[in-house]
Amino acid sequence: MEALFAIPFSVLELPNIKIKKPSWLQAPSAMTTFSLVLFSYFLVTGGIIYDVIVEPPSVGSTTDEHGHSRPVAFMPNRVNGQYIMEGLASSFLFSLGGLGFIILDRTHNPTTPKLNRILLISVAFLCILVSFFTTWIFMRMKLPGYLQN
């Protein structure tokens, strides 16, 4: 059997290559992957796919009574349409709110110094409340009848 396997190698010569996996190639840590996921969440909820397919303008424009064109931030009266800037602003707020909750969890171990803990907790609450109220206001601006009968 050995003789059979040795036949090709009487003609061919094995190249002497040493291939090793490069040492800097490692599996990413859990938190690195999480930050990548959070970044992709920011992009997708900002409606980037909508932007690429439908190609809306970055901000809209209307003409007022005197004929000047004024910029319009939010595409009105439609839930399924957006301008690019409003999408990115809103998804930034979504991610900010998420980060606020994450900070609240990270500050909950006994080893953080007192001042850091107080500052971080206030920043976290600020993030959560500001992002929640701002998105609420954005939605009111987009759909005038939001949360009213």
Binding site: V44, T45, Q82, G98, F101, L104, D105, K114, F132
Partner: protein, 611 residues
């Protein structure tokens, strides 16, 4: 349908006489209550936090993204499909956690139920192999996963092939190749582990490398040969457009035209999910912090569904359950941390004093956080109930609007027109309309339609599109070829109804021009010189003389619609129409409803004498 029939028969057997129509109407809400229970079980099985299950179940009970597809009366596949999908996932997580054949077989049975209910099973049969692959790459592949996946793949695939729609696709189409590949990889991985256990290290290295290279070579050539010879069919259009969203826009206009298939904007996310979009990143963080086999599955499911929901609004339905699960995990983890703080324990003396001092204001922070989260969840409830009542509770065939003095006006034009068709036309007459109204005409007017919502035959729909977009003479040839007796159009210009056929007209042009016989129809002809779509005097002559224009605006030029505007002012397009007095040569007006919403025309027969 089998589900409704089974339920109906069971209830008849128990002498609970409920009419089959009521069974069908209430099937979707019934299954969504079952979904709530399954969500609770699934979240509990993730074992991230004890009470996450209850929070997740409470959230999915009212989330608008899911309610939109499970209202009473919506008798579509998704009503049961989401329940089947979550059931399959629950059994899969149980199977991965326990590694018994019983749970894996139950997963396969649930998968079979899923395949029989919705074409979206392709998502499942790609997500589960991706999960197994991720576990292999992270070094978490164990005997439990091996048993679970092998059983699931074998039993599940054989069961799914029993459905005639699926047939032999699991071994022939690219959408199922990942599952097959991962199955093979599982066997190889387990075999390699077995060899490693029995051989000495040096022997094992040699054998492993030799086998690996041979296998990769043969597999690579096999896949290339099979794809090139066409034995493995490539990804079908509707799934390929999920991977490459611009594909449908450029190549298959009929898929691109459906409004549910449009990409999602930020406001759709917020409208359907509200506070969950803030809790979702936090929940993912908790899953990443404590990685287990089950958590990796939820992370994969979450990330993939976010992407797919971004591509297509309709898939927001698939995102809603995982959003609820992950947000439930986040909310309950944070709450359990902070609620414990509100009542501080009696502190043990000296040893712990050094550390405890840093956690100042514990009870205050805990109380504030619980209040804030409580308010957010209460606002979530208000938002969900408002959205459900305003956006997802209206019947779609009777429209209503509020006049400026607050009185409610009802537009019952659709039923008026369909009843007219049913009462006043011969029973064998054929009605041509755009495919959106096909099922309604078939069911309520009881007449044959040329194309309907099944959209099975693209060439046929394209022919109808060509008829709508061509001039009267050309359209008459097409109508005689299709043997059409009546033509129906929806016109919203009098009342301001914006989902009418003129607004959909460009899609008719694109679909009509997408086949060979419609090559003379070019979208650019219907725009003005400056590239706008206008129906007034500046509009393109091709548009102002096509059949759809003439059918919508016949005798509209004599009607006053708004105070201070000239006659023939179209309230949807906001313009006075360009071509006002014309006569129809090949059609005659049969019926126009009260608010001009539905207009029916009779196709004139060929003239009796030549010339």
């Amino acid at each position: 349908m089998v589900t409704s029939a089974t339920l109906y028969n069971i209830m008849q057997f128990l002498n609970i006489t409920i009419d089959i129509r009521n069974v069908c109407v209430f099937l979707a809400p019934f299954f969504s209550s079952l979904t709530t229970i399954v969500t609770y079980l699934l979240t509990k099985e993730l074992k991230v936090c004890d009470l996450a299950g209850l929070v997740a179940a409470a959230m999915i009970a009212i989330v608008p993204g899911y309610i939109s597809r499970s209202v009473a009366g919506s008798y579509d596949n998704e009503g049961i499909a989401i329940f089947c999908m979550l059931l399959t996932y629950y059994f899969w997580i149980k199977a991965v956690n326990t590694g018994t054949i019983l749970w894996a077989t139950l997963t396969a049975l649930a998968y079979f139920y899923m395949v029989s209910s919705w074409g979206g099973y392709v998502f499942l049969i790609n997500l589960i192999p991706l999960h197994v692959l991720a576990l292999m790459l992270l070094g978490r592949f164990s005997a439990r996963v091996y048993v679970a996946y092998s059983t699931l793949y074998c039993v599940g695939t054989v069961l799914s092939m029993q459905i005639s729609f699926v047939g032999f696709q699991p071994v022939q189409s690219s959408e199922h190749m990942l599952a097959l590949g991962v199955f093979g990889l599982c066997q190889l991985y387990a075999f390699a582990d077995y060899l490693r256990y029995h051989l000495s290290p040096a022997n094992f290295e040699l054998l492993f490398k030799a086998l690996l290279t041979t296998l990769l070579a043969t597999l690579g050539t096999a896949v290339v040969v099979l794809t090139v010879t066409g034995k493995i069919s490539p990804w079908t259009g509707r799934f390929y457009s999920l991977l490459d969203p611009s594909y449908a826009k450029n190549n298959i206009p009929i898929i691109a035209s459906v409004s549910e298939h449009q990409p999602t904007s930020w406001s759709s996310f917020y409208f359907d999910l509200q506070v969950l979009v803030f809790l979702f990143p936090a929940g993912l963080y908790f899953c990443f912090a404590k990685l287990t086999d089950a958590n990796i599955f939820i992370i994969l499911y979450g990330v993939l569904s976010i992407y797919f929901a971004g591509v297509m609004v309709r898939l927001m339905l698939v995102l809603a359950p995982v959003m609820c699960i992950v947000s439930g995990v986040a909310a309950s983890s944070l709450l359990s941390l902070h609620v414990k703080d509100i009542e501080p324990k009696v502190e043990k003396p000296d040893k712990k004093k050094k550390h405890e001092n840093n956690l100042v204001f514990r009870s205050e922070v805990g109380a504030i956080f619980v209040c804030v989260l409580g308010c957010l969840l209460v606002s979530y409830v208000f938002h969900c109930t408002w959205v459900t009542s305003e956006a997802y509770s209206s019947p779609s065939i009777v429209l209503s609007a509020r006049a400026h003095d607050g009185a409610r006006i009802i537009f019952d034009d659709f039923r008026e027109a369909y009843t007219w068709l049913k009462m006043n036309t011969p029973e064998d007459s054929k009605v041509m309309s755009w495919w959106d109204y096909g099922y309604q005409i078939t069911a309520m007017a009881n007449r044959t339609v040329i194309v309907d919502n099944n959209t099975w035959n693209n060439t046929h729909i394209s022919r109808v599109g060509q008829a709508m977009a061509s001039s009267e003479e050309h359209a008459y040839e097409i109508m005689r070829e299709l043997d059409v007796d009546y033509v129906l159009v929806i016109f919203g210009g009098l009342v301001g109804y914006s989902s009418d056929d003129i607004n959909k007209f460009l899609w008719m042009v694109r679909i009509g021009g997408s086949t060979d016989r419609g090559a003379h129809i070019k979208e650019a002809d219907y725009y003005t010189g400056s590239g706008e779509f206008r129906v007034d005097a500046h509009g393109s002559p091709t548009l102002l003389n096509c059949l759809m224009y003439k059918m919508s605006y016949y005798k509209f030029g004599l009607v006053y619609t708004e105070g201070g505007r000239p006659p023939g002012y179209d309230r949807v397009r906001g313009a006075e129409i360009g071509n006002k007095d014309f006569n129809l040569d090949v059609l005659e007006e049969a019926y126009t409803t009260e608010h001009w919403l539905v207009r029916i025309y009779k196709v004139k027969p060929l003239p009796n004498r030549g010339l």
